[in-house]
Point group: C2
Chain length 205, copies 2
């Protein structure tokens, strides 16, 4: 088996590009077949490489799922950092941009996001905890923004910031279940979701 584990050189120009290719293929296969029914062989077939080449890169099917979810978190964390770094915004303006960008990310990565929410529970306990911890960074950041908006008199002071944050994430995340390319406009959906969620936080003024 070890002798067949070399990937075709032309497919692995850079580690980062190979990562993307492999994880995108895994997302497609897990989405189409369902994680339980999919095999490493299916992912290799999707990539057009030998299964041995994949074992050079990961040991188990679960490794593929874990790396896919980690990479997705790296990408959505970049959005958080980018929005956190913007200057001259009040908490609500910052929140609105964050929601818009996260919705756009979901819309641009429907398969990945679908696998994320469908198969997270398939990870072993320890790995699942790592992913949930990274998700919590986002929750805490949004809760802090809501509290800041409340302290500045910009948002309903009676609103429970934790429940409100969950409603905001609901609005962001659920797009992966209903957004259809061709039918729904990306910008319109992102800005409508952001406006909807923001109003929920502002409440009666």
């Amino acid at each position: 088996m070890a002798r067949t584990t070399k990937a075709a050189p032309s497919r692995v120009a850079t580690p980062k590009k190979r990562d993307r290719e492999v994880l995108d293929a895994a997302a497609r296969v897990f989405y189409q077949r369902g994680y339980s029914d999919a095999s490493v062989q299916d992912v290799a077939d999707e990539l057009g490489i030998l299964k041995g080449s994949l074992y050079h890169y990961i040991k188990t099917k679960e490794d593929l799922l874990f790396r896919l979810l980690l990479e997705t978190h790296d990408e959505i964390y970049e959005i958080l950092e980018e929005v956190a770094a913007l200057e001259g915004l009040d908490p609500l303006e910052r929140l609105e941009i964050y929601i818009r960008k996260q919705v756009e990310y979901n819309i641009d990565n429907l398969l990945r996001v679908s696998v994320y929410y469908h198969d997270l529970e398939r990870l072993t306990e320890e790995r699942r905890k790592q992913i949930v911890a990274r998700r919590r960074e986002h929750e805490q950041w949004v809760i802090a923004l809501i509290k800041e908006a409340q302290a500045q008199g910009l948002a309903d002071p009676d609103l429970d910031p934790k429940i409100a944050a969950r409603c905001i994430f609901a609005t962001i995340i659920w797009t992966y279940r209903w957004f259809k390319k061709g039918r729904d406009g990306r910008e319109k959906v992102a800005s409508t979701c952001a406006a909807f969620a923001l109003r929920g936080v502002i409440g009666k003024q």
Copy 2:
């Protein structure tokens, strides 16, 4: 096989009670093992009956899933009918009660709702379409309420009613992913979600 298909009489006092028992057991097993990994034998074990007794009731594992999702739709449709029949409410008041009651249903049926959204795609095409058609009844009803509220000057006239309806369902449905008994109060969560979603529809007045 046919000779072993009789269910133990004590467990099947009424067809409706047996339905609930069987489908609740199926929901638990599908939730815990994942639908793909679960078997009819697992569901029989959960019920403490012979597998043959289940085959008296259903032919395949998919029959169990389909009946579970149909029964769930029967139950949530009852909520819609009940709220539609209430008198003396404006469209927003009706919408608020609908959201509150649907959130409460989700919270009271976390396993079922989880299986619904996790395993709907495992149904054959024709059955999946039946379920999606029933879901559409709810969407159309909520969209009509939003339009009515807009026509009466109660809601933001510039809001796209379809996208708003999807944001409302996001707020309702996503509770199954984050609600935790003991940590979150049922009434508080239901009323906060309803207020959040309603504000999203009302917008600037």
